[in-house]
């Protein structure tokens, strides 16, 4: 994989000084202006790049033990660094609900201006979201939604159902002329609701294509190891099929390895989430992976934008309203060879 050289910590750990120190994940983000930064024509004061009132943003997320979550943190940090008027107070990520509550309460006590929270568990952290709102700190709820709308000022997140839907539509269009087409699904961790939503969207989309039948579904657990193991089994079980949707590009690394090991290239594969390695493979066009459906980690950068706008009392450009919306569901774009160059900078490692 073409990636930046290792960090100095890594090389130190291995005891060689051969590799020079490099910036953390420089390839990852995101100096590209996105739509909402362009000033709108109407009279509402919209956030822009110009320095405004200083804003302190508290950011609390889960432990970055997965490429996508790591990209979330990096997107937030890089975005905040871009604004001279933003100070980011970022907590050590934690998967422990109690610990995350404590961290958020600390941020409340520090009287940050705005909070951005990606909860380890949305339902369990609702109360602390309410606390913050009552204390007069607007909360931007990132991705995993709180149980009560009172617990956030604005929610921004991905669309798991839409991810499945778009993956299904893409595959449907690719196979629409094929009789008795067979499709296989390699799902993520089955214990998570988002996995069920993705599968539901995928199934709903396939209903539009009566010539396509989903013949098998197995759940991996977002790890390379499980992706390899489950995919190897699926390939053994299904001697031929036409398309594969894999929910997650991280486990997709393992799935691709299994496909390579089985010597199979008789189907097309669609990934999920938008890892850089997947996009590289799509661009190269030399593997079964033809597309991936985004679940963009850039949402963290957008969340910082929203938080800054909230802190400065501004709206977002491109909309007529004075205030920013309460809910923003992001579109799960399908990245193919045709548009991969546009998305490549957002691909995460």
């Amino acid at each position: 994989m073409a990636r930046t050289p290792a960090t100095s910590r890594r090389s130190l750990l291995f005891g060689t000084a051969a590799v020079s120190a490099g910036a953390l994940l420089t390839a990852c983000t995101s100096n590209e202006p996105t739509n909402q930064e362009k000033a709108a024509d109407n009279a509402a004061p919209a956030a822009d790049d110009k320095p405004g009132k200083p804003v302190t943003i508290g950011f609390a997320g889960p432990q970055a033990d997965h490429g996508w979550l790591n990209a979330i943190n990096d997107n937030a940090k890089t975005r905040a660094k871009k604004y001279s008027d933003v100070t980011l107070e970022i907590t050590e990520g934690s998967n422990d609900t109690a610990q995350q509550i404590g961290q958020i309460q600390t941020l409340i006590n520090k009287k940050v201006d705005v909070l951005v929270i990606l909860p380890a568990d949305g339902k369990a952290l609702t109360q602390v979201g309410l606390q913050a709102m009552r204390a007069g700190i607007p909360v931007v709820n990132l991705d995993r939604v709180f149980a009560s709308p009172q617990a956030y000022r604005c929610w921004i997140g991905g669309d798991n159902y839409g991810m499945g839907l778009n993956a299904g539509h893409y595959i449907g269009e690719q196979l629409k002329d094929k009789k008795n087409a067979k499709v296989v699904e390699l799902a993520g961790l089955d214990n998570l609701e988002l996995t069920q939503q993705r599968t539901k969207g995928f199934n709903d989309a396939l209903k539009n294509y009566p010539n396509i039948k989903k013949v098998a579904r197995q759940a991996a657990d977002f790890t390379v190891e499980s992706g390899q193991a489950k995919m190897a089994q699926l390939l053994q079980a299904q001697s031929s099929f036409d398309a594969l949707w894999n929910h997650d590009d991280d486990q997709g690394v393992g799935a691709l390895r299994a496909i390579d090991q089985a010597g199979r290239d008789d189907f097309l594969m669609v990934g999920g989430a938008g890892a850089k390695s997947a996009m590289d493979a799509i661009k190269a066009g030399n593997s079964v992976l033809k597309a991936t459906v985004l679940y963009p980690p850039t949402m963290a950068a957008s969340a910082i934008d929203l938080a800054r706008a909230l802190g400065q009392g501004k709206g977002v450009g491109g909309l007529a309203e004075f205030e920013i919306p309460t809910s923003l569901t992001l579109y799960s774009a399908v990245v193919t060879k045709d548009n991969v160059d546009q998305y490549l900078p957002t691909g995460f490692i």
């Binding site: 033990d65 979550l69 579904r217 393992g254």
Partner: protein, 343 residues
Amino acid sequence: MTQPATAAQKQAPTSAAKSAGDQESSRRPGLRWDVRSLSLLGVLAVLVAVGGITAPDQFLAWSNLQLVLTQASVIGVVTVGMTFVITSGGIDLSVGAMVALASVWATTVATQEFGFAGILFTAVIVGVGCGLVNGLLIAYGRMVPFIATLAMLASARGLALQITDGSTQVVTVGSVLDLGARDAYILGIPPLVLIFAAVTVIGWLLLNRTTFGRRTVAVGGNAEAARLAGIDVRRQRLYLYLLSGLCCGIAAFMLIVLSGSGQNTNGNLYELDAIAAAIIGGTLLSGGRGTIIGSVLGVLVFTTITNIFALNNLETAVQQIAKGAIIVAAVLVQRRSMRGGDA
């Protein structure tokens, strides 16, 4: 196996006659082992029958046998090491974390520059190093194995996460990838399966034919008696955790070959899988009795179950329920046949 058996037969006429009425069961313990392993073979045979009936075309294929053995090989090597530790009355909860740490350390960009040898060497050294720390803490620091290896679990996983920052480290060294490729055969056998087989054979010999194995059993059976018999119990414990770490290092290398990458989530819950396989194989959790063959059969039973479920496209929930039920059933069947062997 054959030589002692003939020696026992020569002995049989006198001893059998004398011991028959003497005590309940002075028959050789070896017999009971066979019953144990046989019952697990029976479970495996039932599974093969189920697989053959429900998915005849896919399950009974040669390629599927390769698949099952390959998938079993990584956890299988870990389980061999775990079997030694459990036989000695210990436990190693850190195996999964050691596999994770070894696999990510061996796949950093810096390590990969050293190619095949660098990756293999790093994986093994990291495994042995973690095992050394475990062993020193337990043998000379007098820590309870459960706590010492739990601490190792936490810190090794943490270090693995720190090295990767949560990202997947893809292997670019061709010779490593080739070892896990489709056409890679050594003597007609996939290399990973060959490593697994070699570790199994060496493990069996080590446990059953060497002073090391005998001392392991003695320490597990009665550490105080072993100490008073003049065995260096602490050194033995140190070696055992080193051995477990070594197995994890080898397994990490195998996982790198298999998945073509290193990730901090590797080896997830290996500790439970390895302990479960060893226990249903017939190794006593309290120590003093261990069987490599049983452990390997235990691993094969688990892998075959997973394989059959996947071939039949069963849901995760159903898989988990059935897996639990099969563990209980296997242990019950085993206990019953053991009791039969006792009578």
